[in-house]
Symmetry: C2
Subunit: 321 residues, 2 copies
Amino acid sequence: MRQKNRYFCGVDFGGTAAKVGIVDEEGQLFGTERLEISAGQSYQDIFGTVAHYIRRRCRELEVQVTAIGIGSPGFIDREEGRVLQGSENLPAFKNRSLIKCLKEDFRLPVFADNDANCAAAGELKFGIGAGYDSFVMITLGAGIGGALVLEGRVFRGTRGLAGEIGHLCLDALGPFCTCGSRGCFEQYASSWAIERSYREKVAKRGSGDSGDPEQLRSISTEMVFRRAQAGDRWAGQVVRETARHIARVFGNLVNIFNPEACIIGGGISAAGEVLLQPVQDYIADFAWPLPLQGVRIHTAALQNDAGVLGAAAQCLERLGG
Amino acid sequence: MRQKNRYFCGVDFGGTAAKVGIVDEEGQLFGTERLEISAGQSYQDIFGTVAHYIRRRCRELEVQVTAIGIGSPGFIDREEGRVLQGSENLPAFKNRSLIKCLKEDFRLPVFADNDANCAAAGELKFGIGAGYDSFVMITLGAGIGGALVLEGRVFRGTRGLAGEIGHLCLDALGPFCTCGSRGCFEQYASSWAIERSYREKVAKRGSGDSGDPEQLRSISTEMVFRRAQAGDRWAGQVVRETARHIARVFGNLVNIFNPEACIIGGGISAAGEVLLQPVQDYIADFAWPLPLQGVRIHTAALQNDAGVLGAAAQCLERLGG
């Protein structure tokens, strides 16, 4: 029997803040709080602040939480919740367990996972993934995260490190990536890659209609998409090229996994149709027609609150229900 | 309780023959028979011959089989055992069920799967994969097949079409592939790709020590590897380049699945160390160090009989035990 009205706490760690919120099992989010993390803050301090907020918020809402879910960038050891690698922006977490402190404090199940896995758990439980048993998800932002949902569960691999779709090699002689390999997908479709591509395209053509060089230097990914929609030719090119890289990765994963859907999440997914349409148009260039049949391509349903909802959703996914 | 001394029949369809054999649950194979298939032979005829042999062989061995497993090239519908696509060499099978005939005839469980999935089931149950819970397998031959073993089972995807690792795109502007996409892995590491690469390398350099042009035209993959071992420079180059492509694909799949091992099967795997060593040397260029830690790279243990053993092993895998 599924217990009714369970509540979960989602904690989404980013480089400079933890977003925390209480979520019910239908995915209703009762507000989120952004707790700033300063560079020098200690592990104890950070989790003290988080615990304090959770207690206060539970009192205000008059609820008890069943479990706490934590999402963080980096490779996370699932058993101990340690950040094994990739938490450069959160040095206090290096080789520390993300779950130990809250577990001892609250005496509740506490889970931690990579933020892209959490995003996939969020879509699976509360978002566009709810209708699917298997899907591939990428989260596009400053980096590219990835996750696989197979047979109704987030697939984590032997040691919980699976899903690094951002590090699929698109060009063995491409630019070196943060992971040490060359030509990773992340080098071609992350926000800074999109911005650089647009800047360089315009620079090679003279600024023309695309604004003065000063403005170009501070161009954001959002602006590139907006300009593409407004008919800027070079922005349009960049968006189509980005979409083609995404389509290539999705097409490859369709060949390898035979999933039901592919989902684009992360900040860049807010671009919506202007990105989605060319991905849908290009994917047939990269997948066998047969496994591609019926595969749906979506942008994520959970937008701004994807981090907290996903962190909480992993509790539901791991506890079952 | 596991039933002792179960026997299975493995039927491995190739372009011109069916290899059939009886296998016990420890993977002992009691001989194989090669039953020729002529181009015009009908579906009924082919399965009649196969059924006749199975009956005769069971009588000779004085055993009864528990189930029959069939391996075939192409995309196989798991439920009905139909060949959906990719059986160009066996036109009699097009859109026909591979299991129906034998199922009605023997009144036993009959399973059918893609030959690369069977190869993985074979390694999992009887071969080098027996020590692992998760591995990635590629079968290198005239084409490149692939399979994923996840959590102790061959992963088949939503509609049983998963594992097309041969169609991972290595170059979006590369040569067109049989699947309709461009620059697939199969275009760079299948037997004819290896042979062509060697022929073209030598041709561009003048035949030199590498033999006369007449001989070159009929060079086999096996000869390329043999020449590489004997110190032929251009053959050595071809082998290293092939190994680098394989390492790239394995490295990418390590990032995405976090498996325990990568296995090279198919006819080309007989090359052994001369291929394996450079794959091991190159893989670090393509994988995150952390998920790569401890990943073992092997050639398949089941060699000549991999097809029949794999086809039979799928019975064990699907029935459990």
